[in-house]
């Protein structure tokens, strides 16, 4: 043995692949039992037939739900926000709007909104959980607003895999709403991963 240094055999190789993160978001329309249902766009929900709205009558929950899939490895989790085109169900024919607001439609005379009905996700120690914002966690006919400015509906503070969320759509036209078949709102969903 000569010199000042010795050398051992190489140690175990540790490798890692980095990427710019992964994100996945999807919208589906299905009934209350559609926890795994997948559907293609365009996405629509109708208050017609058995679910038609009657002026002055109690609130009606649409037969289908809005289902959302979300997965991301972003360190700060994600936010899902909604925004409505009209701020309520608007009729071109009558010019009237069933205005969306955060309200209990059992006591409000008129209104429209969405309500969290389902949340699930994979559970591991390094994953987060999804929570609905307070305005959207009501029961019965309490709904959260779909306004013309963006509002957060769901959030996670950590990465989430296989997140699934379901939203009820509930509406109640007041006695002052004129009959028409073209009340409509477009709800835009935005998924915001936080890296």
């Amino acid at each position: 043995m000569h010199g000042d240094f010795t050398q051992t055999e190489p140690g175990p190789i540790v490798s890692v692949t980095t990427s710019a993160g992964s994100v996945f978001f999807d919208i589906d329309i299905a009934g209350p039992s559609g926890t795994t249902a997948e559907s293609a766009s365009p996405y629509s929900i109708s208050f017609t037939g058995a679910y038609q709205l009657i002026s002055g009558a109690p609130a009606v929950t649409a037969g289908d739900r809005i289902w959302l899939d979300a997965s991301t490895n972003s360190e700060g989790g994600f936010a899902i926000v909604v925004r409505g085109l009209n701020g309520g169900l608007y009729s071109n024919t009558t010019g009237q709007t069933i205005v969306s607001s955060t309200a209990d439609l059992d006591t409000a005379s008129d209104g429209f909104g969405i309500q969290n009905a389902y949340i699930s996700q994979d559970t591991y120690s390094y994953l987060g959980t999804i929570s609905a914002m307070t305005d959207y966690t009501g029961t019965a006919n309490s709904v959260g607003i779909v306004g013309t400015t963006a509002t957060k509906v769901y959030e996670s503070d950590s990465p989430v895999f296989n997140g699934r969320m379901g939203l009820n759509v509930i509406a109640k036209p007041g006695m002052n709403k004129t009959a028409a078949s073209d009340y409509q709102e477009s709800i835009y969903f935005v998924f915001i991963p936080r890296f």
């Binding site: 992964s22 766009s41 002055g56 503070d157 835009y188």
Partner: protein, 372 residues
């Protein structure tokens, strides 16, 4: 001297090695990673052109890990294969410092905007062209940034028009905040959808209702001759369209205590009572009284005149009772009524030989309602 050579062989290379290493250390200290970043887009649909109804704008939140001097820039770079999609039209962008974004902030963390992006901000979008150049949004005139502070800025359209890539799915974006040799950046992905909207449609129907009308509020039966034949008079009742059906019921007033019927309230008082039987056959010489019939408003339809009040036997009338408690249903329909329909109400009365001369009157109340 001979002994100095080995020493120099070690010292000189070590000097240059340390010098080079220091250079690297100093240089790398200026190239950091953005500690926190998010982009809150107004729409996440693929293929938005920025035209009316397809407008895209975004709020950017960044938290640098380095202190960055004033006069810097923030640049958003998009994938090379997506040229001219994120920047649909080259030109200036509207840059608005934003102190909060409650829709996207994660409260109490580095993903919560602490402060509006400082500086005299201007923006522009430029398109990539071919391999090696990419679409970029550049924010210039950025003030001094402090490490650990999250800044917010809104990027909107001006002469430059923002869009989204044509394809749905993941898209990598690199955000770089820099000034001089100091540069913090992070690459991450966002997801674009084939469709980002759910369309809610609704049919609103009028509340259930029924309109009921009576053609006349007075009917003169003419002159009744004691012990003579019966007299009649009539009017119509009309029912509007209904969704589930309707009903008509009637009750009288009579003498106010005994029975319904034609009442002579002045002396000598007398009541031509409607009677206790269900019907009156006023063609029978021994029978007197007051009653009514209704015609079927839709012979082939689903409206029904109740049995005692049908008008199919001339001279036979159904009897009525007093007060609301004595109301009798005379006409009903179970089911949708598509158009208004009418029924003729005919009153029949016959006075006994003992009836004193005078004026007789009965007030018949009609009650109409819908089935909902």
């Amino acid at each position: 001297m001979k002994s100095l050579v080995p020493t120099l062989k070690i010292v000189i290379p070590t000097f240059f090695l340390v010098l080079f290493g220091s250079f690297l250390l100093i240089y790398s200290a200026h190239a950091g990673t953005l500690t926190n970043v998010y982009i809150h887009m107004s729409r996440i649909k693929a293929g938005l052109t920025g035209a009316a109804g397809q407008t895209v704008e975004m709020i950017l939140a960044i938290n640098p890990s380095s202190n960055i001097s004033t006069g810097g820039t923030i640049v958003l770079e998009f994938p090379d294969a997506e040229d001219a999609t994120w920047c649909r039209t080259e030109g200036s962008l509207t840059i608005t410092a934003t102190a909060t974004d409650p829709a996207a902030d994660l409260s109490g963390t580095g993903w919560q905007i602490d402060s509006a992006l400082p500086g005299t901000l201007t923006g522009a979008c430029t398109q990539g062209s071919g391999v090696g150049t990419v679409d970029k949004f550049t924010i210039s005139g950025v003030g001094a940034l402090t490490a650990g502070t999250t800044y917010g800025v809104k990027i909107g359209n001006n002469l430059g028009v923002i869009g989204t890539a044509a394809a749905a799915g993941e898209h990598a974006i690199t955000v770089t905040a820099s000034q001089g040799t100091t540069s913090d950046s992070k690459s991450f992905k966002i997801d674009l959808l084939t469709d980002d909207a759910v369309v809610i449609t609704a049919t609103v129907s009028d509340m259930a209702t029924v309109d009921c009308t009576i053609s006349a509020n007075t009917v003169n039966l003419g002159t009744l001759f004691p012990g003579g034949t019966y007299a009649t008079g009539s009017h119509t009742i009309t029912t509007s369209t209904t969704s589930s059906g309707y009903y008509w019921a009637v009750y009288g007033t009579g003498d106010g205590s005994t029975d319904a019927g034609l009442w002579k309230s002045t002396a000598t008082t007398h009541l031509i009572q409607s009677g206790t039987t269900a019907t009156l056959d006023l063609t029978n010489a021994s029978i007197t009284g007051f009653g009514m019939t209704l015609s079927d408003p839709d012979t082939a339809g689903s409206a029904v005149v109740t049995t005692n009040f049908v008008d199919t036997t001339a001279g036979t009338f159904g009897t009525i009772d007093r007060l609301f408690a004595g109301a009798k249903m005379v006409l009903y329909q179970n089911g949708n009524q598509l158009s208004g329909e009418s029924s003729t109400v005919t009153y029949g009365a016959k006075a006994s030989a003992a009836a004193p001369a005078g004026t007789y009157q009965e007030t018949v109340y009609f009650v109409c309602g819908g089935y909902y």
